[in-house]
Amino acid sequence: MSAPLGEAPRWVTAVLLPALNVSAAFLVSGLVVLLIGEDPLEVVQLLLFGAFGFGEGIGYTLFYTTNFIFTGLAFAVAFHAGLFNIGAEGQAYIGGLGVALACLHLDFLPLAVLIPLALAGAAAFGAAWALLPGWLQAYRGSHVVITTIMFNFIAASVMVYLLVNVMSPPGSMQPESATFAEGARLPFLHDVLRALGFQAAASPLNLSFVWALICCALVWVLIWRTPLGYALRTLGANPTAAVYGGMSPRRLTVIAMLISGALAGSLAVNEIMGNQHRLILEFTAGYGFVGIAVALMGRSHPVGICLAALLFGALYQGGAELAFEKPQITRDMVVVIQGLIIFFAGALENLFRPRLVRLFTPRARQALLEEA
């Protein structure tokens, strides 16, 4: 696909620029590593080995990647419509409730029936938690950034209450639900592969990974190949033009938030039905916020989001291995790197962009345009 005339080639903005931003983030992270007295190169080696060096590691990496794909897509869909949904954390948390209710109360159903129901439950609960912020933005003008922040905290309170007082099985002091029955768990991918006759190391990677990839494709089709996606992008780029084009910004705002919330909620399938097999406190662990970075780095495109999610997945898994090998470095180092990547790829995206664009926009193209 060739770039439109008069702009930098697409590989510059889609590949080189994010690469540069991430490099800058890693460079600063390297300084932090130096500060705590470790060798950055050795750390990188351990990280990469931890993430990709052995079967189990790869499984974990892809397991985390799955989470980031969901939250990245969630942010991206709303972002295309000009909305800043930073409530994926809360939406995913509440999504967990949908999964758990399905898995706990419908476990008499065959798995093939239960899985779609659990997926629907996660999506529906996530969407429901995004509905009110979306509605308030659309009809009352309350800024979605602030309301989604508030809803994250409200979700946290609701979930603590439910897990402590309602869902915790009688006699248990643990703030968590009962464990799901064997027949109400999403199969691990290594089990599936073994059943098919392949060898695979055990890891929490489960069938949600496949669902995440399907969601990527669906989001791509939605955004670039459907009238609804076109309307969402128009709203994001120019709300007045959207009205001119016969679209309803209010309706679209609510729809975008619903889709976004549903995608965020789907994270819970991976964590709760695929790995934990019970509803626990704070299983979202900040994945929702990292989704912002994933989407920004991936330029809100599903392919970019997959790659960025893989990067963060590798960081998570590699970071865990690293913390194990190097007692001086904790898993928080990964959080530092995340913060820096969000900072460089998101907040400081204008640091390199203008220079890069100028460098790579061919003069011949500009001249051609001026002639016209």
């Binding site: 702009e7 780029a237 007045t240 033009a241 084009g245 016969g246 500009q366 016209a372």
Partner: protein, 512 residues
């Protein structure tokens, strides 16, 4: 009438300025004499505002120098311009709506670390200035609650308070009623008699002729000529502005109108603040005619057009389009295109185009639900791009690349994309606002011809324009809007004088 030996108040020598590939100002020289009103005219995009922004220190010139009272000065910030005695009234007012008028005036000239004394001193100074120049502005009201005229006078006060010896006004009458504009001109003359200098940027030749002493004409970033207004005529200025004699009339044959397409009865529209913008308006547009709506900008035409195109709710009255009643709450505007309504909006950047999109995606705007552009539930990209290529060729859009980003087309070509989209869908009713705003001469003729063709094909057209020439040469009937009401209807042969009177709210029979 200028001082004999005195150096000019302001002298610009060889100013050039580029924005990327766009050369906004090329080697411009200009001298403004003390105690005069100096007009600068030119079409949109001629570089007038850029030049004045350089003078006010908002931009830095790439080359050239600025002399104030004969001395070379570096003006690299608005602060430096203020220090050099230059004040500016921007087209979009630079006021803080939540502040009082008084607070707005002292902003940047507080006279100390705390406000108390500065405010008191400023109040006294302002009362004096208001008296000297007839600038009535309530000082203690939030600026957001003042009228446009009051806000503009406040801008003038701001400049005078900061000691402006020379005042630049950028398109000051665009938003004013005729009465307010007259008030403004009285103030400007008063400033002149007190020895101050005024630079008036406008594209309205009538204003230039009536108030300025000297006039400079700009075209495509260059200074074409400076002459005494007494030696100028509107025709001559127009010719200088566009570079050749303008064809003001378009050939068109007579055509008998047919059935009613658009029927507007007692339409009233209030804006978000509850101010009535359109007041009890009734008219019809029939198939095979162009009805023009003339009027000074901001007399309700924009709101009318937006309501008729379903973009804005209305408060009273009925709108019937080819038998369909329009919902006053503007909740069904997506249906209008199915009813055969097309709309070329006044402000193509804000409404008619999504500038960061590719051209083909803009051809889709408003028609994204259409079956021709779809394959099942999905959009048919190939069909859309092919259709775009066809439309671009037909409307001579250059360059004719359907996948080019819309922002990279020139203003005229962007407008052609909008027109191609709207006209090629073969509408029964076309609503057009300012079709040639910011469009080069060649494209203007092209656009006018297309509109006439559409009318000859038996379509109904409602044309809103502030350009009288355009209205007079295209319309079969002219309605004049003033203060939200239709104050008269004329034939296209009406004299400009009579039309002007109507636009100023003077109905025939009354004395001016």
């Amino acid at each position: 009438m200028t001082g004999e030996r005195q150096p000019p108040v302001i002298e610009l020598v060889g100013i050039s300025k580029s924005f990327g590939a766009v050369r906004a100002n090329r080697d411009i020289s200009l001298a403004v004499e003390r105690g005069t009103i100096h007009g600068i005219v030119g079409e949109n995009g001629a570089g007038k505002s850029t030049l004045m922004s350089i003078l006010y220190g908002f931009y830095q010139a790439d080359s050239g120098e600025i002399r104030v009272n004969g001395e070379r000065r570096t003006i690299d910030s608005p602060d430096a311009a203020i220090a050099a005695g230059i004040g500016m009234v921007h087209q979009h007012f630079m006021l803080v709506d939540t502040f009082t008028a008084l607070e707005n005036v002292v902003l940047g000239a507080e006279g100390g670390l705390t406000l108390k004394h500065g405010l008191a001193r400023a109040r006294q100074a302002l009362i004096d200035l208001e008296r000297d120049y007839g600038l009535e502005v309530p000082l203690d009201e939030p600026v957001g609650e003042l009228t446009v005229g009051q806000q503009q006078r406040l801008e003038i006060l701001k400049a005078l308070f900061r000691g402006a010896d020379m005042l630049i006004l950028d398109e000051p009458t665009g938003v004013l009623t005729p009465a307010e504009a007259n008030h403004l001109f009285r103030i400007l003359r008063q400033l002149k008699t007190q020895g101050r200098t005024v630079v008036l940027i406008t594209h309205k030749l009538r204003e230039i002729m009536s108030i300025t002493d000297n006039v400079s004409v700009m075209r495509r970033g260059e200074m074409v000529e400076t002459l005494a207004t007494a030696q100028a005529s509107p025709e001559k200025l127009a010719e200088l502005m566009v570079g050749r004699r303008v064809l003001l009339r378009v050939d068109k044959s007579a055509r008998a109108p047919e059935r009613d397409i658009l029927k507007v009865e007692n339409l009233s529209i209030r804006d978000e603040d509850g101010v009535t913008r359109v007041n009890d308006v009734s008219f019809t547009v029939r198939a095979g005619e162009i009805v023009g709506i003339a009027g000074v900008a901001d007399n309700g035409q924009s709101e009318l057009l937006q309501a008729l195109s379903g973009m804005r709710p209305f408060d009273a009255g009925t709108v019937t389009i080819d038998g369909h009643r329009l919902d006053p709450h503007a909740s069904d505007n997506y249906r209008l295109r199915e009813w055969g309504v097309a709309h070329v909006p006044e402000d193509r950047h804000r409404m008619g185009l999504v500038v960061p999109f590719e051209a083909n995606e803009n051809v889709l705007l408003g028609y994204h639900r259409e079956r021709d552009y779809r394959r099942g539930p999905l959009l048919d990209r190939r069909a859309i791009i092919e259709d775009t290529a066809r439309k671009m060729e037909k409307f001579d859009v250059r360059p004719s690349f359907p996948r080019l980003k819309t922002s990279l087309f020139s203003g005229g070509n962007q407008q052609k994309i909008v027109l191609a989209r709207e006209i090629e869908h073969d509408p029964d009713l076309l609503l057009v606002g300012q079709p040639t705003r910011g469009v080069d001469i060649g494209a203007i003729e092209f656009i006018h011809r297309r509109l006439i063709e559409l009318r000859d094909a038996g379509k109904a057209i409602l044309l809103v324009s502030v350009e009288l020439d355009e209205i007079q040469s295209l319309a079969d009937r002219i309605l004049v809007m003033f203060a939200g009401a239709i104050v008269g209807e004329c034939a296209p042969g009406v004299s400009e004088n009579e039309l002007g009177m109507l636009m100023a709210g003077v109905t025939p029979g009354e004395s001016a």
